[in-house]
Symmetry: C2
Subunit: 464 residues, 2 copies
Amino acid sequence: MPELTAGLRADLARLVGADALLTDPADCWPYGYDNSRRQALPQAVVFARDVTQLQALVQFCVRYGVPLIARGLGTGTTGATVPESGGIVLSFERMDQILAITPGDRLARVQPGVTNARLQQAVAEAGFFWAPDPTSAAVCTIGGNLAYNSAGPRAVKYGTPRDNTLGLSAISGAGDWFQTGVLTTKGVVGYDLTRLLIGSEGTLALITEATLKLTPLPEAKRTLRATYADIHAAARAVSAIMAQPVTPCALEIMDSTALEMVSRYAGLDVPAGAGAVLMIEVDGPAACIQDAQRAVGAAAQVAGLLELRLAETAAEVAALWKTRKALSPALRHVAPKKINEDVVVPVSRMGELIEALEQLARDSGIRIVNFGHAGNGNIHVNLLIDPDDPDAVTRAATCLEAVFTLVLRLGGTLSGEHGVGVAKRAFVGRELDPVAVRLMHAIKAQFDPAGILNPGKALPDVLS
Amino acid sequence: MPELTAGLRADLARLVGADALLTDPADCWPYGYDNSRRQALPQAVVFARDVTQLQALVQFCVRYGVPLIARGLGTGTTGATVPESGGIVLSFERMDQILAITPGDRLARVQPGVTNARLQQAVAEAGFFWAPDPTSAAVCTIGGNLAYNSAGPRAVKYGTPRDNTLGLSAISGAGDWFQTGVLTTKGVVGYDLTRLLIGSEGTLALITEATLKLTPLPEAKRTLRATYADIHAAARAVSAIMAQPVTPCALEIMDSTALEMVSRYAGLDVPAGAGAVLMIEVDGPAACIQDAQRAVGAAAQVAGLLELRLAETAAEVAALWKTRKALSPALRHVAPKKINEDVVVPVSRMGELIEALEQLARDSGIRIVNFGHAGNGNIHVNLLIDPDDPDAVTRAATCLEAVFTLVLRLGGTLSGEHGVGVAKRAFVGRELDPVAVRLMHAIKAQFDPAGILNPGKALPDVLS
């Protein structure tokens, strides 16, 4: 990585606009981290403005061999936007316009820097929502959601960004601007570059605009909470719920360690002997919502159910969510620097996964808290360690290794919605087919021949 | 294309198995056509059996520069499986096993040669369906559905193959077997090769296995038929239906020319002055179905509505569908060799599209019948001509050119679910971004370096 000399900095200022450039390390530092606790100093930060400016920037980076790392608002958890090999961090925070909302065609056109929450608010006024709703919706951008295919709890019914994006505009690593996809929900002209870019973590192209598929807001929503004696009963209930026709719009699980955490720090209102809790929500037309709630409630009644509570009023809903909402502060209190993974296994293997994780916790002496999006089999595995304790870090590394081995043995995937970034690069070669990895690298070389777009991220090395 | 000498034929027989090889032109001929009325004689036909055999076949084709054209059961409409540059047609009809159905994980694993209808029947026994349901379901294969991303009427609610496929196994044009995707509904490790292969018409790889996402069968279905004074009223109703929360599982349109065809050959039971008909179906839990029907019925009541009929019994449903079902035989009677396009426009532009098509029909003297999947804006435009009349063919070519220009001006796409094949190759360069086309060719070169997989199909030439 070449030094950014005073001469090059002046060139850059001329190309991208002086008001769109930071080069003072003190200014650049806040753009060098994400939520993975990794941090590296960018050589410069550029604020994306428009296609012309971005093309000039890409050409500059190609000429001088400077890495270019696209960044939303830094809520990623895998270091994907951390400039570990140096380079320019490209912040999309100023390209934050909602360009069009077209209710009759169920679509919105947006720039990548708009936050998920602001988009939801704007389309809600027209009676719609965009299905992906990561927990960080208030502060994460659509560009970031597309980069990691981040979905959140609603995905169980409404899908991920790949299922809810119709087309993109982007700039390749050669500086070429191009469009992908269609304005319609059907279309099969040319290869599907839209979904190829989604989930590619800024390694193939810089997304400058997205056409998003909107879904009409449901009229009504109902909440249920089911408490089980053990995780296997809860897992059986998840399978039963997913095998009947009413698909819930949220199906979240908490394991016994999670319940124990909450009980210690916030007081628990679940029955004694609780080994797992499911939070379930259904949505739909107001006239049908009670029947939907009843159908899902019936499916939740498997052997091992200790209590099933149905909420109707806002106060009852809040009471049911209290345990789940208390979990995050409790975790922060005990282990502010916990390791949070987002593995996925087929729904039918979830009980097996969590039981093995509990065994792993006993063997390793590391407390592991599991919760997450059970309807997709997407479990957030939290290792409660102090990363400043070298011994704990070593044990955690061994433990994580075992978690990943377990997930792959169960037919799962190492990331549901957080992506690979730097954090999981060393592991994903064990999941991906080696021929497929070679093809991915070959594709990368076509989109980014100079290798400037987020180098060293997302893809594992090619195995010989 | 080299000649397949007796020596090469003997090599081939040894590699793929003599019982899996046809070389007599009389035997090969039936494998040289599809439903586009194009036909060309394959130099040989091979019946796919397993990965080992297919790898040997690919290596043979690479060594001797022989095109290899994957084929399901020949129901395609664009000539994508017609060996126009010679080569070996690879029929998947014997790789037709349903390998696994896993209700708890909502998935099925299948070989590409199984027909859509047989899969639907098998998964229905477990309480599920696979969303894509092309009209040719009885005789089209899953491999073909994946090759063209073919969906059918249900896509308006349940999506296309790209939305309903979790992973694939495939063999590249270099003879490498690889796996893509996951067994779960979330996953973001590596680039999305699954959806890249779907819709690529056998030009990137040979699909040997697919993991399909299943959806629970709805308990109940209801049918509505809405008749409008003109196409604009019907188009407004489609927009209104798509803007409210109950998404129908079918939303089909017929224009005035379609109604006129039916009235002449089968007798029409719609009110006088009918200019367009919508066939609407809703599905869902039995307890909610009446409300769903009512909600959609209310949305269908826009100015220009002449009649709204709701069916409850099977006999009433059949009566409502009578007009729509009479259309295909009526068309076959009038113009057995009609040209059938499957363009798509944003739902809000559908009225404009059909009005302009009516004007085009008047100007060109060609009768144009429009019907199709209105909820996706996917209109089947039928030019009723006799392709054996040279003058008609010339006028039809001019007319088609105008149809495609119109569709692109309205923000649409030239194919919703039939694909490009040979038939639309000359046109899709006008829709696709030229940089994207260059990238698609670059991707093709990575998957198929020798250029043996279905050469000359799907992608337009690179524009200089």
